[in-house]
Amino acid sequence: MVRIPKNLSRRLYACCAVIASVAGILGAVAAHANEFNARDLALMDRLTWGINASSAEHLRALGTERWLQEQLHPPASVALPDTVTAQIEAMPDVHKLPFDIAVAFEQQAKSANQVADTDQKKAAQQVYQGAMNDRAKQAAARTILHALYAPDQLRERMSWFWFNHFNIHQYKANLRILVGDYEDRAIRPFALGKFRDLLASTMRHPAMLRYLDNADNAAGHINENYAREIMELHTMGVGSGYTQADVEALARILTGVGIDLKSEDPKLKPELQSQLVREGAFEFNPSRHDYGDKTFLGHPIKGRGLAEVDEALDILVHHPATAAHLSRQIATYFVSDNPPESLVQKMALAFKTSDGDIAAVLATMVHAPEFAASLTSGSRFKDPVQYVLSALRLAYDDKTVLNTAPVQNWFNRLGEGLFNHETPDGYALTSASWNGPGQMMVRFEVARQIGSGSSGLFKPDLPNATDQPAFPLIQNALYFNGLRQTLRPTTLTALDKAISPQDWNTLFLSSPEFMR
């Protein structure tokens, strides 16, 4: 288990705004003795959901390389702070598997539909919809709590990245009840592992099979949707040399890969029974599979059932286009809108030589001179999710928020709501999608809300809950011993004109430097 040391700055959070200026004076005096290494701060800011005083102290105590290794190779399970775990454990369905969740909700929908009186039926259906909405909100709360407080920050960044890469949309069918499980069991455990495992785990999750319609893909009535997106988005990338015939072949290979929520097995001819595979809601139904031979990306595939899928995944993962496409996507997310080709090639080579090991690709990236250069170039622009999370991590450090609804709301207002991108391509990774005039205005409004007070973050979503006192304290030791030195004169001049701690926070969180 990784522990984040508590430090002096924590005491400051108990203080209120009035003391902020006093802390400022103290910080300024102590500046030289405690100054943080600017490169370390930039590195940490780039690879985590945002820097804060306690994590910066942790990096300093560990040293850069050991910290990097800790982030690249965390243990399979890293404990969250108790206050976070308690919130997650209180959520319904958090330990249930998709099969049981989906069956329970299906039952509820069925009973609602059977109500005779039309008004009562409508009411029952609204209750059902409301329960599905609650599950999606709880899943989003889990994502946010992990992102803010998990010590294995790089894995959290990669979990968001891979969710977005294997995007599903919560408002399709019943996916609101499955998005949480999809992230917790299909994505996060594999986020730093082998890409092959990640591809396979998303393929076996009912949320993906529903979202991209493979649940409807069967011999005789082919649905190409999933097959196409696997090649176009998940692995090789668009325009990388595959043909429509390859898409059709993969679709045929994927026939029968679907969902089954019935307790009894499907009726099968005796000779097909040994081919049936059921794992929770996942099912390979041999009577829906096209057993003909196929040719996929030049490889002859003998028609023989689910083993064809494994063979196709191996072909895809080992295709050079996949290494290049994934490397470019990762580099775009962490380095710049147009990452240097030399860097992409190094990462792609690491992907190939490590048999698609994600941590190895990331290690190559962070140790490359192109990455080091990007830390000081100022060309990155935070997407909305990173912007909001980094502001909250900086402002509250390890003081646990008690309500994530305001955070979900900020994500939505900024156009990057969790599980809320309709199309399979996921949210754009490039800055041009997020720095338009309208979006900058909303960002400044959000900066003001985060900077001006606790914004409901410390008021639990319970009847009669009281709002716990809290204040975003950004002018702390980290600021005076590190962040301040990175600000340009124009920004410092504006900050000097702040008329209150709230105003100062708003301006700091609105500054060009904090957008990077």
Binding site: E422, G438, Q449, D503, L507
Partner: protein, 397 residues
Amino acid sequence: MNRRDLIKAFAAIAPLTVAGRVWAAPATDARSLVVFLRGAYDAANVLVPVSSDFYYNSRPTLGIARPDAGNPNGALPLGPEWGLHPALRDSIFPLWGKREIAFVPFAGTMDDLTRSHFETQDTIELGQSASGARDYRSGFMSRLATELSRAKPIAFTEQLPLMFRGKSQIPNIGLGNVGKPGVDDRQAQLIKDMYAQSNLAASVSEGFRVRDDVYRSISEEMTAANRGAVSPRGFELSARRIGRLMREQFNLGFVDVGGWDTHVNQGAATGYLADRLGELGRALAGFSEEIGPAGWRDTVIVVISEFGRTFRENGDRGTDHGHGSVYWVMGGGINGGRILGEQVKIEQASLFQNRDYPVLTDYRAMFAGLFLRMYGLDAAALQRIFTGVHPAELGLV
């Protein structure tokens, strides 16, 4: 000769270059607003096929009665074959009388038969072929904006819709609850100062300008409300705000309104759908009022939805996902008061898959025909917006 052949014949007589200039005002003054009814509205109960016995047999509880001066719940007469839902009596029906609205029945997506809200909304917004690889970063209104020299596009939505995603950066602003901006003028100036030397300087200063303009426009409306004017709500409020903003600042707009997925208890002349329609009608009439006579003359509103609903009512007094829809085209300068596009007699035999309206006018062909006339686009530009599409000559403008 059927109607389509007739239109083709006229098109053949008039050279396209001339046809591109029939728009009353210079092309650059033209304004377009696309209104997307998300959820697939029940078109057959809005443009009611009053001459079809099959309609009344198919909708025993939902059918809108034939026009009858003595029956306030009857359809409003639009000619021998069609009637309008009575909830639109005071808002849309008068525009019909002024020939400022036309309906295009049997409209929709020819190549998307998924009957999935999600899929088909995407299909329409992208305006690309539904088969083959899609570019999710290229919506058709964004492509239109790229082709126009003086486009001032904006999406009146909380999030930038697919339709407006693309190469150029298009602002979006939700109008449902615009309040006084929290970032005050002093802070705005300090923020602009911080960005003055950055590559985002233009984005930030443009952002504050639009924000202030929108708020100024809306605070005028608030002042008016305080003087005792009836204060509109919901979509009507948004649409009025859009009217004012498009009068003053923008010429290419998009807005969406949800709540049309009426599977259960949708009502007939009154009830749930009638209430939604009433609000929509008041909203569109309110828009035309706010944009003013000059603005209205140069404006074309197109009201669309992803698909229609089943022609027959279901067992829950509602309707399920269908195929063909009815699009509305409105504006002070349009050639309205007509039902346009290829049509079929409404009977069981003409239903698509024995359940829905067929699609006889493809949405892309309709928009292509409109853009061609409104903006005088050349064939190459039109092909960049809708690749491989032959524009429909509906004679709308």
